[in-house]
């Protein structure tokens, strides 16, 4: 159906505190591990310390008699699971827990010990003796690893436009460099927790996830249940960042345990287990070859990326995406390779593909500007494409240039001396840098139900989830405008798989997808003009989504930063971080800004701190805690500036795009470019660790400025 334009009662565009904030600051909001489910037993996960091999023997009998132990699940007594269950990319072996004795990666759950109390379960789990047969493992990632193979084309084929070699040969300057990024973890503050029980023939689960509907569908397939038998709720979720976008091991194990033990079971991962059993962003190695004319126009753009994978689940870390979108060039080639290793299958983490991909591309673009002696902003502006550089499709709302101009103006970029290592403050070297970015946007099929109640209020039900994005507050405003009433008359129900088909909070498509369904249902309700109440309508965007014209749909941003580098210690302090965003219409400026600021901070964190390290000898995560895997803390973060330029997606009824991930993308390159500007040395490996930046033998007062 054709959707009439909403009337806009004025809730959208107004800054309002998030609806659940009063509950959250008072400690009243209930997260997955907070609800007291009567009769719950506690499950403690036991993980394999070997990276490859098999379980020879588990002495579960010895712990069954320990105080409080209710049961032990392992591959000999666990329910059989459906091997076809998977994720967006296909069947996923990391879901098939306790099915056989094989160990495909270190940290693989091999048993669940269930007891009356958490302490009893933990003690019994520690006492559980397991013999392993160890096989030789390989966790050493390298782009030229012999097992490298082309990645899945789930996100489209490699690009091959024009003659890259001929254009490179004709270029005035060529940049040809390699970039490396490590494993990075979502590391949401809330460790994964699920409580599961059977009630009247239905499996009930309180979980923390990014999309209860998609989780329930996957769980139903995995357990071979009728989808109507599974209900998953996740009212408040303590952050996700991709790590809660697929069925977690805690949920699979809780569901199996309650099925076997016939009582409610809660499984909460320890922080170390979150690092070891919940998918991370894979390590990447990328090569960029860019050729340009003396006026800054690109002739050739060649982006090859390899990422670590797993033989038991497909995944695509789509690093070359920005090279298909950001710049015009007569020749563009991308290649994407995966290297299956004996590691936990990786999955999406905030800004998948583009976070590492834009680090490589935007660092290389800075090197192009350096070699040409040009302003890096000008080099980007000179290569604005009129249509999709690879697809030729029209852009829907391309406002990258506006971001670049506005960012440069706010940052006073025009005062910058583009030569490196020219500024110092005492023993510190000072530099500035920037990067441009994009992130793909759009909506995916969802459904919403609205009931006009007798008291003049509206109950709006949608299987959305609010993982800290502000979705609850934003969707209330969307519904108010779509129904042309004040937001106080909207009662929003979310976070329940029983509310019907809904996309998850992921791919920067949550709010867009849900808002569309709400807008459509509201239009139908208003068109029906019900004479009697209560009156209920439902709408499903599947058809409207299928009818959308093909186009290049992206959000854009430009990131500017100033850093101070101490060459004697290698310490980098980010002094200023500014992002200008074109992310569609802004539903709630207060919350949108928070999300953009949070994204920039995650970007800062990936640039300076985050370093998922794997021990080659054991194949295990070497730093599975916050003392080893550093994330940005208060003292690392300066006042952050985030601004929005006018933008909208003309095909989206609300004109909105997504904000969730673009803030993270681009920040690492901007910071690395600023570090080059400060020191004169390129940093092509993340994070920009002290030992990589340190200038040996340098002490204060001994600081040559070239």
């Amino acid at each position: 159906m054709k959707i009439p334009a909403p009337q806009h009662s004025g809730a959208v565009g107004v800054a309002r505190p998030r609806l659940e904030a009063p509950d959250k600051v008072a400690g009243k909001a209930r997260y997955a591990a907070d609800a007291a489910v009567p009769g719950s037993a506690f499950g403690y996960v036991v993980t394999a310390p070997v990276a490859r091999g098999r379980v020879r023997h588990i002495d579960s009998e010895a712990v069954r008699g320990m105080p409080g132990v209710v049961g032990v699940l392992d591959h000999r007594n666990a329910p059989r699971l459906n091997p076809e269950a998977g994720n967006f990319f296909g069947p996923d072996g990391s879901l098939r827990l306790l099915q056989d004795d094989a160990i495909p990666y270190a940290g693989r759950p091999v048993a669940l010990v269930v007891a009356e109390t958490f302490e009893q379960a933990r003690t019994a789990a520690a006492a559980l003796r397991i013999d392993y047969a160890t096989a030789t493992h390989d966790t050493g990632f390298a782009a030229d690893h012999p097992s490298a193979r082309p990645a899945s084309t789930a996100f489209g084929p490699d690009a091959e436009i024009g003659d890259v070699e001929a254009e490179l040969a004709a270029s005035a300057v060529i940049v040809d460099e390699r970039y490396r990024t490590p494993e990075q973890h979502g590391a949401a503050m809330e460790p994964h927790s699920a409580t599961a029980w059977w009630e009247d023939g239905r499996l009930q689960v309180l979980d923390c996830n990014q999309g209860p509907f998609t989780m329930a569908m996957t769980l139903a397939v995995l357990l071979r249940l009728d989808p109507a038998q599974v209900r998953i709720r996740a009212e408040h979720v303590g952050g996700g960042f991709g790590s809660k976008s697929m069925l977690g091991p805690h949920l699979v194990l809780a569901a199996m345990a309650t099925t076997v033990l016939d009582r409610p079971v809660r499984v909460t991962l320890t922080r170390a287990q979150v690092f070891q059993t919940v998918a991370m962003r894979p390590a990447t190695e990328q090569r960029l070859r860019i050729g340009a004319d003396t006026d800054g126009r690109l002739r050739a753009l060649h982006h090859e990326a390899a990422f670590a994978g797993s033989p038991i689940a497909e995944y695509v870390e789509n690093c070359p995406e920005p090279s298909k979108v950001l710049y015009a060039a007569p020749a563009i080639r991308t290649r994407l390779t995966t290297v299956p290793l004996d590691i936990l299958p990786p999955y999406s983490v905030r800004g998948p593909g583009l976070t590492p991909g834009s680090f490589a591309l935007e660092s290389a673009m800075d090197e192009v500007a350096e070699r040409l002696g040009m302003d890096p902003v000008d080099v980007r502006l000179r290569n604005e494409p009129a249509a999709g550089p690879v697809t030729g499709l029209p852009f829907r709302g391309r406002n990258l240039a506006a971001c670049l101009h506005e960012g440069a103006r706010r940052f006073a970029w025009h005062t910058r001396d583009h030569r490196p290592r020219r500024r110092r403050e005492g023993g510190l070297l000072i530099g500035t840098g920037m990067a441009a970015t994009c992130f793909s946007t759009g909506a995916l099929p969802s459904s919403a139900t609205i009931t006009a109640e007798t008291d003049g209020t509206y109950t709006v039900a949608i299987g959305a989830s609010d993982i800290g994005t502000g979705a609850r507050t934003a969707l209330t405003a969307i519904a108010a405008d779509a129904l042309d009433v004040g937001p106080e008359r909207i009662r929003l129900r979310i976070a329940d798989s029983d509310l019907g088909l809904a996309w998850a909070a992921g791919g920067s498509r949550g709010t867009t997808s849900w808002a569309w369904a709400i807008t459509m249902a509201a239009a139908e309700l208003r068109a029906a003009a019900p004479a009697t109440r209560p009156f209920t309508v439902s709408a499903d965007t599947s058809e409207a989504f299928a009818a959308l014209p093909y186009a290049e749909r992206h959000a854009y941003s430009a990131v500017f930063t100033q850093v101070a580098v101490d060459p004697a210690t290698g310490e980098i302090r980010v002094r200023r971080l500014l992002g200008v965003f074109a992310v569609g219409r802004i539903v709630n400026p207060l919350l949108a800004r928070s999300q953009a600021v949070g994204g920039l901070i995650t970007g800062l964190s990936t640039a300076l701190h985050e370093d998922g390290t794997r021990d080659r000898v054991t194949g295990r995560n070497a730093n599975p805690d916050f003392a080893g895997y550093h994330i940005a803390a208060h003292a690392d973060v300066p006042g952050i500036e985030a601004h929005f330029v006018p933008d909208h997606d003309p095909d989206d009824p609300s004109g909105i795009k997504g904000i969730g991930e673009i803030g993270t993308v681009g920040t690492a390159a901007a910071i690395a470019n600023a570090v080059w500007h400060a020191t004169g040395t390129r940093q092509r490996t993340l994070p920009l660790r002290l030992d990589r930046v340190l200038e040996p033998g340098r002490t204060e007062g001994d600081l040559p400025v070239r």
Binding site: A26, G27, H236, V597, I601, T602, F626, A632, H634
Partner: protein, 199 residues
């Protein structure tokens, strides 16, 4: 009743005397959450590395995951549930809501308890690593006002993966200013510190 593995203790939680028998291995965090139903305090790491479990014990901030419940016997414990007054949120809580000092909210109880203690520690004249040498804390001298750098330093034990840090710092600055105003004391710096000028 106590035996070899359990202890009978009393926790004065948010003003209520609560008697309970705890497993000697039970942390204060688990006792608050699972025995007393005070689930505001959050378990982010169970290792003293994230600050989500921060509560006040006898007025001092502690990570309750590294405190054994039995060792807190007889203590006054304030959790996030106890920060608000009878009919309104504390100035800090209100500032968090108004300035959006939270996203997912999971670190928020710890941030709030920590910030409450930061204000008290500062008022008591405790310096930090960020205290400027030209504005020392010294007996008989007025306490220098908290600025953004002080708050960032003092709050660095409380991680926030959503990256709400700037809004949290702004909220603490505002609450500090309100608290200072109550004590008829004008701070030298305020939220304007965060809008650093880069002319």
């Amino acid at each position: 009743m106590s035996d070899r593995t359990r202890s009978a203790i009393t926790l004065h939680a948010n003003g209520d005397a609560r008697a309970l028998t705890v497993d000697n291995r039970r942390t204060l965090l688990d006792a608050l959450r699972d025995d007393l139903g005070l689930t505001g305090a959050k378990k982010g790491c169970d290792h003293g590395q994230c600050g989500a479990c921060t509560v006040l014990v006898n007025g001092r901030r502690v990570v309750s995951c590294l405190t054994l419940a039995a060792a807190a016997d007889g203590s006054e414990v304030t959790t996030v549930e106890g920060l608000a007054g009878a009919d309104r949120l504390s100035p800090l809580q209100e500032a968090f809501v108004r300035l959006d000092g939270l996203q997912c909210g999971f670190c928020t109880p710890g941030q709030l308890c920590s910030a409450t203690a930061v204000l008290a520690e500062h008022a008591a004249g405790w310096p930090s690593a960020a205290t400027r040498p030209d504005r020392p804390y010294a007996p008989g001298r007025p306490t220098p006002a908290l600025d953004a750098a002080e708050i960032r330093e003092r709050m660095s034990g409380n991680l926030c993966r959503c990256g709400a840090y700037p809004q949290i710092v702004r909220a603490v600055l505002e609450a500090a200013r309100d608290t200072a105003a109550e004590h008829a004391h004008t701070p030298e710096t305020g939220a304007a510190d965060l809008e650093e000028s880069h002319a």
